[in-house]
Symmetry: C2
Subunit: 201 residues, 2 copies
DNA sequence: CGGGGTTGTCAAGTTGGTTGACATGTCATA
DNA sequence: TATGACATGTCAACCAACTTGACAACCCCG
């Protein structure tokens, strides 16, 4: 046997293509014009297969969000790796994520450049129903911190709290940016550094 | 529906990957060490699937040959397109094919650099059992000639004969090269030009 | 209100890869 | 030369996944 069977790789490919199609449609004509049928047609598959693979249209949105999240977490991982100071690592990661948030066509489309032109259904995923996003991102960031073997004056549970807070700040800054990425990241770093100092002193 | 269904594209992909695996094994360790099992393993598929897709090991060799041939014919098509003189077109095509014959790792492996180190089974395909190759290549070349709308003093049947002869000369020069590609191609052009002159006069 | 388009779901049908088995053939080696 | 190891070629039974057709429910437009 091989590491990945042909079947499995095809399955992943199908998933990706379906999501690609949906994402393309979102970026071109908005979420409301995305159709399960059109996705099926574009990919060359039956509508049923789209449902089998992605579930309901609502779940499709969540899949899209999680996939985009994975791209963000990749950047986070890259930026944190090799740093010696936790705060530096976090700041670098935040900056990377915020910059990607500006570049990501999907994110920009969801958040909407013109006020009032949102797709409420999709936007909800990034905001009120972002539980899974926060959990996933939090877990990934924590893993990076563990990998980094930083010297931290915090208990494990306290690390969780701190990480979740940082993630929430970043998510907020992506959905409602108020300063350039570098500045926003620096601000987060400032708070974090103070908190750590407090924990130590 | 789409132009290509997902299923079809996957099928083609499987075929390609199987052939890639076989070709890689040939180039690394020779035809005799190519195993249906190894191909299956490398691609992540069952041995039976390899048989379903490619047939016997012998047929696998033919598939490989035909796929490589397709690459040659692509070059031929490129070189002939846009030429105004038939002979120039043919010479350009021959030169391209001969050069590719020198570069093609598969061809070089089959033909064998060291005398006596051939894989007889594979080699047969390029020589004694090259019927399908000649037919396919001939048809492709003839199509290029028709597309070119050249002014020819030959009947349709005579064109067939001429084309087949050229193809055979090229095939021979690939399996047993005696001069550099440009020279060999020029030689073919010389004969062809004479023949056409004879037909006109 | 009625038609058209979409979603979500189902069951039946088809394609095609998987698995295990077996006969056959070949080669190296004891 | 006998034999074990390995490869090929084929089968049948199995199972996973895509397809097809159909249907109820919903929404929006005219």
């Amino acid at each position: 046997m091989t590491v990945v069977t042909f079947r499995a790789s095809v399955q992943g490919q199908l998933r990706d293509r379906l999501l690609d199609s949906a994402q393309g449609q979102i970026e071109k004509r908005g979420w409301s014009s995305v159709t399960m049928s059109r996705i099926a047609d574009e990919v060359g598959v039956s509508r049923q297969t789209v449902h089998n693979e992605l579930g309901t249209k609502r779940q499709l949105a969540e899949h899209l969000a999680m996939r985009e999240l994975a791209r963000f977490l990749e950047v986070v991982q890259e930026r944190m790796a090799g740093q010696v100071d936790v705060v530096d690592a976090v700041v670098a990661a935040c900056e990377g994520a915020l910059e990607l948030g500006e570049r990501s066509l999907l994110v920009r489309t969801i958040v909407g450049s013109v006020p009032g032109e949102h797709d409420p259904d999709l936007l909800a995923i990034l905001t009120v129903e972002s539980g899974e996003i926060i959990d996933t991102a939090g877990a990934a960031v924590k893993q990076c911190i563990l990998d980094g073997a930083f010297d931290l004056p915090l208990t494990d549970a306290e690390v969780d709290v701190a990480v979740e807070s940082v993630v929430r700040l970043v998510l907020s800054a992506i959905t409602r940016p108020s300063k350039p990425p570098a500045q926003a990241a620096a601000d987060i770093g400032w708070i974090l550094r103070l908190a750590l100092k407090g924990a130590r002193g």
